[in-house]
Structures are given as structure tokens and as C-alpha cells.
């Protein structure tokens, strides 16, 4: 028997799902605004694009996302690395992290509004929080896991200063872990984008709430898939960059 290629199975799974969905949506069992058929999506995409909504909402969300990603990642990685390097810092953050870590990003929405108002900064702030924690802990673990023998080798070959060891061993050694933290943050960021925009900051989330208020549920579905697409694209690009940086791994 010939083996079916994997992508054929993957594609038929997705296609089958869409067909079942279409069939149920058209059967009349369920009201159309409760479950819009997938065939309504292309025309709704077209009208959103023609009205200029889709582009501007996607761009706005990308802006919050990018700002939150950069902010959360930079702070998370640099603090995580320092904590791993300095035992005193590690000890002093132990309870702090335990207190603040469990607070979900969305619980910061009230303070985001109090501090920054209904602004893009507020959205970026909320998005950055989840990304921060992911990177903080993965960067810390990645640095702690760096092979101590390699540090000894570097010292034996004359690299004795802290900066030299950081540059020659610790950061390259922690790079795989740090990069996988960044990648996890990339996904975590999209999860909070929509929520961060629900309270009136222009973006995909705001448009979805508007549409659901008008019972234009096919528009809601359209933006749900737009998020999936944006996440898929950003992850694809990231994995590409990652595999270039980590070409030395098998």
C-alpha cells in the first residue's frame, strides 16, 4: 500500500472540518448568527478590506503586539539572565516573583487604564506582561543550565573576566533556551492582544466586539482566523531566524 503524504492528511483534516461546519451552518438547525458558515468569510473579508477596516485594525494590533513583545522580551530576558548570574539578585527576587507571577496579564487592565488611559501604550503594557514572565523564567533556566565545564575551558584558555565569559560562553550557551522563550512569548502575545483591545483601543479586538454587538458573527470569525494567520506568519518567520542562529545544533 502506498503511504499517503502527511500534508495530504493534514489538508483533508482541515477541509473535512470546514465541510462539516458548512453543512451544519446551512442545515438550518442553528441560527446563522450563532454559527456563520465558512463560505461567508471571503465576502466578509472583501467588504472589511474595502471599508479599510481590516488593514487598519491589523496594523494597529501589530503595533501593540510588536511594542509589547519587544518590551516584555527585553525586560524578561535581561532580568532573567541577571537573576541567574547573581545569587544575591536571585535570592531577593524569589518571593517577589512568587507574588507577581500568578497575576494574569488581564488583571492588569484596570491599572493599565489608570496609568496610561485608553491608549496604545496601555495595550502594549498588558501584552508585555505575559511575555515578560515567559522570558524571565526561560532565560533564567537557560543561563543556569549552561555547562559549567565550558566556563572552565574558557577560563583555562585565558577568558577570565565576567564580560568575556558572558560573551564567549554564557550567552551562546543559553541562546537555545532564550530563543525558545522568545518563541513562546510570540504566541502568548497574540493571546492577550485581543483582550487588551476589548476596552476601546483600536485593533482587532475592538473590531470583534463591535461586530458581535451587531450580530455580524461572520466578521468575528474572520478576525479570529486573521489572528491565527498572523500568529502562523510570525512564528514561521521566527523559526526561520532561530534555525539560522542555532545552525550549530544537530
Amino acid at each position: 500500500m502506498k503511504q499517503t503524504p502527511r500534508y495530504v492528511l493534514a489538508a483533508s483534516g482541515l477541509l473535512g472540518f470546514l465541510l462539516v461546519w458548512e453543512a451544519i451552518a446551512r442545515s438550518g438547525w442553528i441560527e446563522v448568527h450563532l454559527l456563520p458558515p465558512p463560505s461567508s468569510l471571503p465576502s466578509s473579508l472583501l467588504s472589511e478590506i474595502q471599508a479599510g477596516y481590516w488593514q487598519s485594525m491589523v496594523v494597529a494590533s501589530l503595533r501593540h503586539y510588536a511594542a509589547g513583545f519587544v518590551l516584555g522580551s527585553l525586560l524578561g530576558v535581561s532580568l532573567g539572565v541577571s537573576v541567574a548570574l547573581f545569587p544575591r539578585v536571585e535570592a531577593s527576587q524569589a518571593w517577589l516573583a512568587r507574588v507577581f507571577r500568578p497575576i494574569p496579564p488581564l488583571a492588569w487592565i484596570p491599572f493599565a487604564i489608570i496609568w496610561f488611559g485608553i491608549t496604545e501604550t496601555a495595550a502594549a503594557f498588558i501584552i508585555s506582561i505575559g511575555i515578560f514572565w515567559i522570558n524571565y523564567f526561560t532565560a533564567m533556566a537557560a543561563v543556569q543550565a549552561v555547562d559549567k565545564d565550558l566556563i572552565e575551558v574558557a577560563r583555562a584558555f585565558g577568558h577570565r573576566s565576567f564580560l568575556a565569559l558572558l560573551r564567549k560562553v554564557i550567552l551562546p550557551g543559553a541562546a537555545p533556551g532564550i530563543l525558545s522563550g522568545l518563541r513562546a512569548g510570540l504566541g502568548q502575545g497574540w493571546m492577550t492582544v485581543v483582550a487588551a483591545e476589548l476596552f476601546g483601543i483600536a485593533g482587532i479586538g475592538q473590531r470583534m466586539i463591535e461586530a458581535s454587538g451587531l450580530l455580524a458573527s461572520e466578521v468575528v470569525v474572520l478576525y479570529m482566523f486573521s489572528i491565527a494567520l498572523l500568529y502562523g506568519a510570525s512564528d514561521y518567520v521566527f523559526v526561520h531566524i532561530q534555525s539560522r542562529i542555532l545552525a550549530w545544533q544537530r
Partner: protein, 254 residues
């Protein structure tokens, strides 16, 4: 001949109280190949590390005298039991690790890479990643990395300990060839008595608690015929029974 390594009343301690070894007096002559065997836990690796200034002495001193001072070289280089190559550096960049931070031009770096790769018999391997090499090849690159700084002194910490017997024998002969070509002073730690007798001009036996040199065996057998000679077998037995006594003594100490 000049003494290149001289330890005087040397002691090392990890907890600041109990010494791993104490009152160690060792002298290594220029160009000499000295091997060290001993009871496990006697601090063989520690001895190399204190000579390489990776850990500080607790008492006493280490004096390292290298015959020449040249900014493109380092006095001491070390070969580790696990080759410990940096996996994110290609082979050539691993070899130049010790040349970074000293006064060496890129041209000289490339020359040293080419020369040391040839010396360890891996001429075309400069562009590979460490994970593409076998254990024995990695160990050779570890040796090349040490030779690239053109050290006067080579410290070797069970460099062939993790290799299979055939690879190990091959590398032993290769090391002897390199030593004869480059005339480094070598201090070589091993737990393999035959290896110690085969390679060394003399064998130091580390034993007792805290450890000291309990015995010293000059080998003085022609190297070209060493592995088959009767004298070799006798010397191996001698060292083995010496080590056995040291182990028994260590077990008797409360």
C-alpha cells in the same frame, strides 16, 4: 635543563579546612613527559587545575617558569577529559579560542589552525561543527586547541579516558609523536597504569590522606619498543602493586 613547574608545600582545600592534598612538592623539567596515577579522590585533576590557576592554592605555592616570553603564545594549555568543545563554534573557531585576547593576527590564527589540524590528523575538519565529530576526533580537536597557543606546558586530564581501546592506543602514539615534534613539557593525569608507563618519562603515584606523592617510578625504556618489552610489563606491575598498597592504606585510614 630548567624546571618549568615547581610546586612547594602545595595544599588545596575545597572547604577551607580539610586539604585534598598537602605538602606536595613536584618539579617538572623542561621537555619532560610526566604522568600521574593515584587513588581516586587523591586530587589528580585538582593538581592540574591549581597549576593552571583555575583554583587557588590553600597553602604553599606553584611556580611556573616558561623558557620564552612571546605575546602570541600562552605558557600553559590544558586538555580536558571530555573534550568540551564549544558546540556553537566550528572546529576552527574552537581551536582559536585561546588565541582570542592575545596578540595574534588573523593570518597567524589561520596558520595555527591549519598546522594544529595537520598535527592531529584532521586537516579538512575546520568547517565542521563539533557534533559532526566522533569522540576521538573531538578529543583530537581538544588537543589541537591546546597546541594552538603554542604552550610550553601541556596539562592533560585523563584526555583519553572516555575513548575505546583502539582509538585510545592510536591517540597515545599520536601524542608521543606530537610531543617529540614539539618538545612540550607534559603533565598527564590518568587512571590507566599502562597508559601512564607507556607515555611517561616517569610516573608519579599520588596516595595517602591527605594525598602526597607516595612513590615515583622512572620508566627509562626505549619508547620505540616500549609496548612489547618485558621491562615495560615489569614496570607496569611495579606501579600497579604500588597503587594497590596505596589503596589498601587509604582503606585502612579511618
Amino acid at each position: 635543563m630548567a624546571t618549568v613547574i615547581h610546586t612547594q608545600d602545595l595544599a588545596v582545600s575545597f572547604d577551607g579546612q580539610t586539604p585534598v592534598f598537602a605538602g606536595l612538592n613536584i618539579a617538572i623539567e623542561e621537555g619532560e613527559f610526566v604522568t600521574v596515577v593515584g587513588v581516586s579522590g587523591a586530587g589528580k585533576s585538582t593538581l592540574l587545575r591549581v597549576i593552571a590557576d583555575l583554583i587557588p592554592p590553600f597553602r604553599g605555592s606553584v611556580k611556573v617558569d616558561a623558557p620564552r616570553v612571546d605575546p602570541t603564545r600562552r605558557q600553559i594549555a590544558m586538555v580536558f577529559q571530555a573534550a568540551n568543545l564549544m558546540p556553537w563554534r566550528r572546529v576552527a573557531d574552537n581551536i582559536t579560542l585561546g588565541l582570542e585576547g592575545i596578540d595574534v593576527s588573523d593570518t597567524v590564527k589561520r596558520e595555527r589552525v591549519t598546522r594544529t589540524l595537520a598535527l592531529v590528523g584532521l586537516d579538512d575538519y575546520g568547517d565542521r561543527w563539533p557534533h559532526q565529530l566522533s569522540g576521538g576526533q573531538r578529543q583530537r580537536i581538544g588537543i589541537a586547541r591546546a597546541l594552538a597557543v603554542e604552550p610550553d606546558i601541556l596539562l592533560m586530564d585523563e584526555p583519553f579516558g572516555a575513548l575505546d581501546a583502539i582509538t585510545r592506543t592510536g591517540l597515545q602514539d599520536e601524542l608521543l609523536r606530537i610531543w617529540q615534534e614539539t618538545r612540550k613539557s607534559i603533565l598527564f593525569v590518568t587512571h590507566d597504569i599502562e597508559e601512564a608507563v607507556y607515555l611517561g618519562d616517569r610516573v608519579l603515584l599520588l596516595g595517602d590522606t591527605p594525598a602526597r606523592i607516595v612513590n615515583e617510578y622512572p620508566v627509562a625504556i626505549d619508547r620505540s619498543a616500549r609496548r612489547e618489552s618485558e621491562a615495560f610489563v615489569r614496570r607496569v606491575d611495579e606501579v600497579r602493586s604500588g597503587l594497590q598498597d596505596a589503596i589498601t592504606a587509604a582503606a585502612a585510614t579511618p
